[in-house]
């Protein structure tokens, strides 16, 4: 039997992590057919997936996440894997926020691979030291530090000018400026009043200011190249999810020493989560179905969750994974997740398609991208957000 998995885990740490899964599957006698489609934040992958589904030859599993799982569920092409879930007692080991996302109409149709925290700020302490700056905890401090780095002749903020990266910074800023409750109202419930509120305008103002610390070559730069700038000491700070850690690890860097992982300014009480998951598609033949269940079990197994997340920089989606090998960043992530899930600071990442459906998310992303790449005023941007939120 074999499983075919469509994914776009192609950069540094991701690719290594995917390779682990392949190894584990092959150890269980299931061969792995790699259907990697890189580029464009999964755009090509989604196109290919649609073509495959329409052709009636869906892959065993595909990297789909968040509300999209529901959308696919509506199309009736996902497989029910409750069998594996009961057997593996997933309900018990998955936090509610996670398991909700994995279910369609109360049945498991997808397996979570990990939980990413998006609201991180990655810092090169060397650079800070050279510039005489200290690690920021809020935006005021952030801009002080940024000014110093800039004066030292280095790039303050490493960034890649792609819409999803713009959105990543944006959501961290909104979270930092407005707090979790505001974030929830604005970017999850899309409340028009919140979207066009002074807070939102302030968030845009902040974003506009951050823009001034970004080098002009950022346009089109891949995130990992931006991360590389931190690693090489060319730049001081980067807003990026915890997958950036994979790049640091791959470069042999130690957390706390060679780099710092800080919550994005003003968001230490919050956690934007981004769950990677594999949605399971209906496959034909008992053999294939068995392989699919094996895949689901393997993905959920603590062993896999451990190695995968060690490589990728994220934290396991399930409970019961040994914390021993995880580094300080990951441990902080785990703790914060626990804490925020109780305090209500645990919010879905809008930039990574966890909060709202793809049409609205895309529309908002367009607004942010336009704001980042033009002289649009904050007021206009806020108004545009209201309009974008109506997209269908």
């Amino acid at each position: 039997a074999e499983v075919e998995v469509l994914h776009y885990w192609t950069s540094g740490g991701e690719a290594k992590s995917a390779a682990e899964l392949k190894k584990l599957m092959e150890a269980k006698g299931v061969s792995w057919k790699d259907f990697a489609v890189a580029g464009g934040g999964g755009e090509n992958a989604m196109t290919a997936l649609k073509a495959r589904v329409i052709a009636g030859s869906a892959p065993t599993a595909a990297q789909i996440k968040g509300p999209s799982i529901q959308e696919w569920g509506k199309e009736g092409v996902l497989a029910n894997i409750d069998v594996a879930a009961t057997e593996g007692k997933w309900d018990a080991s998955l936090p509610k926020v996670v398991s909700n996302v994995m279910k369609y109409k109360g049945h498991y149709v997808a397996v979570p691979v990990n939980v990413h925290r998006v609201n991180w700020l990655w810092v090169n302490p060397e650079v800070l030291k050279k510039a005489g700056a200290t690690a920021p905890t809020n935006f005021d401090e952030f801009f002080v530090a940024a000014d110093k780095i800039k004066k030292a002749g280095l790039i303050a903020v490493a960034h890649g000018g792609q819409p999803w990266q713009d959105a990543t910074v944006f959501e961290s800023v909104v979270l930092g400026v407005g707090g979790a409750a505001f974030y929830q109202k604005a970017l999850v419930q899309l409340d028009p009043a919140s979207l066009n509120s002074p807070t939102m305008i302030k968030a845009f103002d902040t974003l506009a200011k951050i823009k001034t610390y970004i080098d002009k070559d950022a346009a089109g730069r891949d995130w990992n190249l931006a991360t590389a700038m931190i690693i090489n000491g060319k730049a001081g700070m980067q807003f990026m999810g915890d997958w950036a850690k994979g790049e640091f690890s791959a470069a042999g860097k130690q957390p706390g020493k060679d780099y710092l992982c800080l919550p994005a300014p003003g968001t230490d009480k919050a956690f934007t989560f981004n769950i990677d998951s594999l949605a399971m598609f209906t496959v034909k033949g008992a053999d294939q179905q068995k392989a699919q269940l094996t895949l689901a079990n393997t993905v959920m197994s603590p062993e896999f969750q451990e190695v995968f997340n060690l490589n990728k920089g994220s934290i396991p989606a399930r409970a019961g994974v040994s914390r021993a090998k995880f580094d300080s960043c990951a441990l902080k992530s785990m703790d914060d997740m626990d804490a925020t899930s109780k305090s209500g600071g645990l919010v879905p990442s809008f930039a990574h398609g966890m909060a709202i459906d793809s049409a609205k998310a895309g529309a908002i992303q367009d607004v942010v991208a336009r704001f980042m790449n033009s002289t649009m005023t904050s007021q206009a941007a806020a108004l545009a957000l209201v309009k974008a939120a109506k997209a269908k």
Binding site: S11, A36, A55
Partner: protein, 272 residues
């Protein structure tokens, strides 16, 4: 001279790609874009061919390269041949409505390919051809015919009708005339079509990624994956080497047969 200056502009990207591909990473980072490589280093080529990772697999471009060959060669041959026969009919066996057929076919050149993805996927699925080289070939043939027919028809129009008449009187039938009289005359236009179709099909990305599945992924998709797959640092030299490898067959075709290209165009493919 002006022409030489222009030539430099045209050559610059190729030069950059070539030199970059034989530099080491350190040299690239330290040096200038136009610097000549200090030492020619073929490791990047080696790696691009059979070592670099595309997604989880780390087999380089080689397997995908052969996928492309297996797909492109038959697709080019078949679409050219069909185009040739079609052009022959449209130029020398006109019937009521053949002009309309021709115009209608021409419109086919302009359909945006994104439009056809979903319905085509469904049809391929029904035919059991999805994710196969055969399926990909089929798609390329279907959307290549419009252009090849156009080329051949315009070329064959310049072949005197009297040749066909003479052969008919000599007793030859439809296919015999095609084989004995028309085909031997068609070398220049075949070259044009080969070049055009091969370039189009070999360089296609969209169909490859959508209909190629895992087994039939062509080299362009692999190149894209390779360029986007990185382990820490972007290996520009490997990427450039890969890009050149992916372009080698078409480049080679242009260099070998480029002469025929202009000649074939001159011989009649140009006319609207």
């Amino acid at each position: 001279m002006l022409l030489i200056l222009c030539a430099l502009y045209y050559l610059a990207p190729l030069y950059v790609m070539l030199t970059t591909s034989v530099k080491t990473l350190d040299e690239i980072r330290a040096g200038n874009l136009l610097d000549f490589p200090a030492r020619i280093n073929l490791n990047a080529w080696q790696k691009a061919w059979n070592g670099a990772c595309t997604g989880v697999r780390c087999e380089g471009l080689a397997p995908y390269f052969w996928n492309s060959v297996k797909m492109a060669v038959p697709a080019v041959l078949i679409s050219t041949l069909i185009g040739s026969v079609n052009g022959y009919v449209l130029a020398h066996w006109k019937f009521r409505g053949s002009e309309i057929v021709f115009t209608a076919l021409m419109v086919g050149c302009f359909i945006p390919f994104q439009v056809v993805i979903l319905p085509m996927a469904r049809l391929l699925g029904l035919a059991g051809l999805s994710n196969t080289t055969a399926g990909l070939m089929f798609v390329h043939i279907v959307y290549g015919i419009a252009f090849t027919t156009l080329f051949f028809r315009n070329y064959y129009v310049s072949v005197p009708d009297e040749l066909v008449k003479a052969a008919r009187i000599d007793g030859a039938g439809f296919f015999r005339i095609y084989r004995s009289v028309i085909l031997p005359l068609s070398l220049p236009i075949f070259m044009v079509c080969f070049i055009w179709q091969f370039t189009q099909i070999w360089n296609d990305f969209l169909f490859g990624v959508v209909f190629g599945g895992t087994d039939a992924q062509p080299v362009t998709v692999a190149l894209n994956n390779l360029v986007n797959t990185s382990t820490g640092v972007t290996e520009y030299n490997v990427n450039m080497a890969a890009a050149i490898i992916a372009a080698l067959p078409t480049l080679g075709l242009y260099l070998l047969a480029g002469k025929y290209f202009v000649r074939g165009l001159t011989a009649g493919a140009v006319k609207g």
